[in-house]
C-alpha cells in the first residue's frame, strides 16, 4: 500500500539536483520534457560568446539540433523547400564575401553556413555567371572584329546553352561526386568533420561568385589582363575550397588527402581555363585574318590573269 501511494504521488525529478537549471533563462514549460530547456540554453550560450575555433564543438551541437528541428516537413511539401531559402540579404552578402576573401583559420562552412545551407546563392550565382559569360563572350567577339568591315556581328545564342550546361553541371555534379567520395571515406576512416551534400553544394556555388567580375574583365581584349584575372580568381576561390575541405580529409591517409585536394583544384582550374578557351578564343581571329589574306591573294591573281 505504501509503495502504491508512493508511486501514485507526483514525483519531481531533476529540478533541484541540476545546478545549471537555476541559471537557465529558458522560458519553456517543463511539461514536454527536459530536452527543450537544454536546447534553448545551449542556443543561448555559444551565440553570446562569438565564433572561433574553440567554439566549434558547441556550434556543432547547436547546429545539429537546429537542422533536426528544421527539416521536419516531408519532402513533397512546399515548406520543405522553403527551408532551403531561409536566408536574408545580409547573410547572402556575408557568404559571398566570405567565399571571395579567405580568412586564415576560419572555415567557410562553419563560419557562414552554420548548418543553414541555402540554395538561393548557388542557383543565382550560377545563373549570373552563365549570362555574364555569354554576354562578355559576345562583346569580346564584337570588339575583336570591330575594325573588320566584312564581319557582320551576330549574337551567338548557343553560348548561353553551352555555358549553362557546363556551369550547372560543375556546380552540382562535382559536389555530388565529392560528397559521395567523402561519405565512402568516412565509413573507412572516422573523420572529425563531415559535410552534408547541401553544404558542399553551397561552398561550390558561392566559390563561383569570384568568377563574375573576372568574366566581366575578360571583355578587355588584352591577354595579360585575362590571364591575370583568371589566376587571381583561381587563387582566391581555390584557397577557399582547399581550406574548407582540408579539415574533412586531414585524418585520412596522406596520399588520399593529397589526391582529393589536387582533384578539387584541378577541376576548378579546368572550368576556368575551359570557359576562357571556348568562349573567348583568340584563334578565330587568326583564322579570319589568314582567310582574308588568302582572298586578297586570289583577287590579285584573278586581276592579273584577266
Amino acid at each position: 500500500m505504501a509503495n502504491n501511494d508512493f508511486l501514485l504521488q507526483f514525483q519531481e525529478f531533476g529540478e533541484d539536483g541540476d545546478p545549471q537549471s537555476s541559471t537557465r533563462d529558458s522560458t519553456s514549460i517543463n511539461m514536454e520534457g527536459t530536452m527543450k530547456p537544454q536546447n534553448q540554453s545551449k542556443a543561448g550560450g555559444p551565440a553570446a560568446l562569438g565564433v572561433g575555433n574553440d567554439e566549434l564543438d558547441t556550434d556543432d551541437d547547436k547546429a545539429e539540433l537546429l537542422s533536426n528541428e528544421r527539416k521536419n516537413a516531408p519532402f513533397w511539401t512546399f515548406e520543405y523547400y522553403q527551408t532551403f531559402f531561409d536566408v536574408d540579404t545580409q547573410e547572402v552578402k556575408d557568404r559571398i564575401f566570405g567565399s571571395i576573401l579567405p580568412w586564415r583559420g576560419k572555415n567557410f562552412v562553419r563560419l557562414h553556413i552554420r548548418s543553414n545551407p541555402d540554395l538561393y546563392g548557388p542557383f543565382w550565382i550560377c545563373a549570373t555567371l552563365v549570362f555574364a559569360i555569354a554576354i562578355s563572350g559576345n562583346i569580346s567577339t564584337f570588339l575583336k572584329h570591330h575594325g573588320n568591315p566584312q564581319f557582320k556581328y551576330v549574337p551567338d545564342f548557343r553560348k548561353v546553352t553551352m555555358a549553362a550546361t557546363a556551369i550547372y553541371s560543375y556546380a552540382w555534379l562535382v559536389p555530388l561526386a565529392l560528397w559521395g567520395f567523402l561519405t565512402w571515406r568516412n565509413s573507412k576512416v572516422v573523420n572529425s568533420v563531415s559535410y552534408s551534400f547541401l553544404e558542399i553544394v553551397c561552398v561550390y556555388g558561392y566559390s563561383l561568385s569570384i568568377y563574375v567580375p573576372a568574366v566581366v574583365l575578360w571583355i578587355i581584349p588584352s591577354e595579360g589582363v585575362r590571364w591575370f584575372s583568371i589566376v587571381a580568381a583561381l587563387c582566391l576561390s581555390g584557397s577557399v575550397l582547399v581550406m574548407t575541405f582540408w579539415p574533412a580529409i586531414r585524418d585520412d591517409r596522406p596520399r588520399v588527402a593529397i589526391a582529393i585536394i589536387v582533384t578539387i583544384v584541378a577541376l576548378h582550374v579546368l572550368l576556368a581555363v575551359g570557359c576562357k578557351a571556348y568562349f573567348f578564343s583568340t584563334r578565330e581571329y587568326e583564322n579570319t585574318s589568314s582567310l582574308g589574306q588568302k582572298e586578297e591573294i586570289k583577287a590579285v591573281s584573278t586581276i592579273n590573269t584577266t
Binding site: 512546399f78 536566408v87 540579404t89 543565382w124 549570362f131 554576354i135 559576345n138 551576330v154 549574337p155
Partner: protein, 230 residues
C-alpha cells in the same frame, strides 16, 4: 379524363377533386440561393455578342498596360490578374526578335522558341524564387506582373527597329539604341519592383529584386544586340 373519373368515382371519391391543372398555382420558391451575387449573375456572358466579350478583355488588358506605364501603388494588376497581356507581349517580342540575323554560317540569333522559353521559364523561376523566400504573392499574380512589365521593353524593341531602319550610321544608332534599351530596362525593373516588393519581408527585398533585374537585363541585351538580316 372525365370518363375515368366517373368510372373511378365510387372508389376514389376524394381524389377526383384533385386535378393537376393550370388553375391551381404552384407556390413556393424553388430557385437555389446563390452564394455570391456577383455582377456576372445579372447577365449571362453566353448571350452577348463575341465582340463585347473580346472588347471587355481587351479593355482589361489595356487598363493594365496603363498601370504599367505609370506605376503607382495600385492593386489592379494583382487583383484582377490575367495572362492575356503577357502572352500578347511575349509573342510580339519573340516575333520582332526573330526577324533577323540568320546567317549562312549557322550562327543565329535567338529564335522564337528561345525567346518564348526564356521569358516564360524565367518568369516561372522568378515566381518560384519569390515564393520560396516567403513571399505572400500568389503564383499567377506574380506571372501576370512580370509579364505585363515587359511592355516597356516591347516598346523599346519597336523603337529600336525604327532606329535601325532610319539611321544608317552604326555608332550613332548604337548609342541611341543603348539609351533607349537602358531606359526601358530601368522602367521595367522599377515597375515590377513597385508591385512585387511589397509582398516580401523587408530583409529579403534585395534577394527578390535581383533575379527580376537579371531577367530584364537579359531581355534588354537580346533587344540591344538585335541586328536585322540585310
Amino acid at each position: 379524363m372525365a370518363e375515368v373519373d366517373e368510372a373511378n368515382k365510387p372508389l376514389f371519391a376524394g381524389l377526383s377533386d384533385v386535378s393537376i391543372s393550370d388553375d391551381i398555382p404552384v407556390e413556393g420558391d424553388i430557385s437555389v440561393p446563390l452564394a455570391s451575387h456577383s455582377a456576372d449573375d445579372e447577365f449571362s456572358t453566353l448571350d452577348e455578342p463575341v465582340k463585347d466579350t473580346i472588347l471587355r478583355d481587351l479593355k482589361a488588358v489595356g487598363n493594365k498596360f496603363v498601370h504599367v506605364m505609370y506605376p503607382k501603388k495600385s492593386s489592379a494588376l494583382l487583383r484582377d490578374w490575367d495572362l492575356w497581356g503577357p502572352l500578347l507581349l511575349c509573342v510580339t517580342l519573340a516575333l520582332l526578335l526573330q526577324g533577323g540575323s540568320s546567317d549562312s554560317k549557322g550562327d543565329e540569333g535567338p529564335q522564337f522558341a528561345e525567346v518564348f522559353v526564356i521569358i516564360w521559364f524565367g518568369s516561372v523561376i522568378i515566381t518560384l524564387n519569390s515564393k520560396l523566400l516567403g513571399g505572400t504573392i500568389s503564383f499567377f499574380q506574380s506571372l501576370c506582373v512580370l509579364g505585363y512589365c515587359i511592355l516597356p521593353l516591347c516598346v523599346a524593341m519597336l523603337v529600336c527597329r525604327l532606329v535601325l531602319l532610319l539611321v544608317s550610321a552604326t555608332t550613332v544608332s548604337f548609342i541611341i539604341r543603348l539609351l533607349i534599351v537602358t531606359a526601358s530596362f530601368g522602367w521595367s525593373t522599377f515597375a515590377s519592383t513597385a508591385f512585387l516588393a511589397d509582398s516580401q519581408p523587408p530583409n529579403r527585398k534585395a534577394l527578390v529584386v535581383y533575379p527580376v533585374f537579371l531577367f530584364y537585363f537579359v531581355i534588354g541585351w537580346m533587344i540591344l544586340t538585335f541586328s536585322p538580316s540585310s
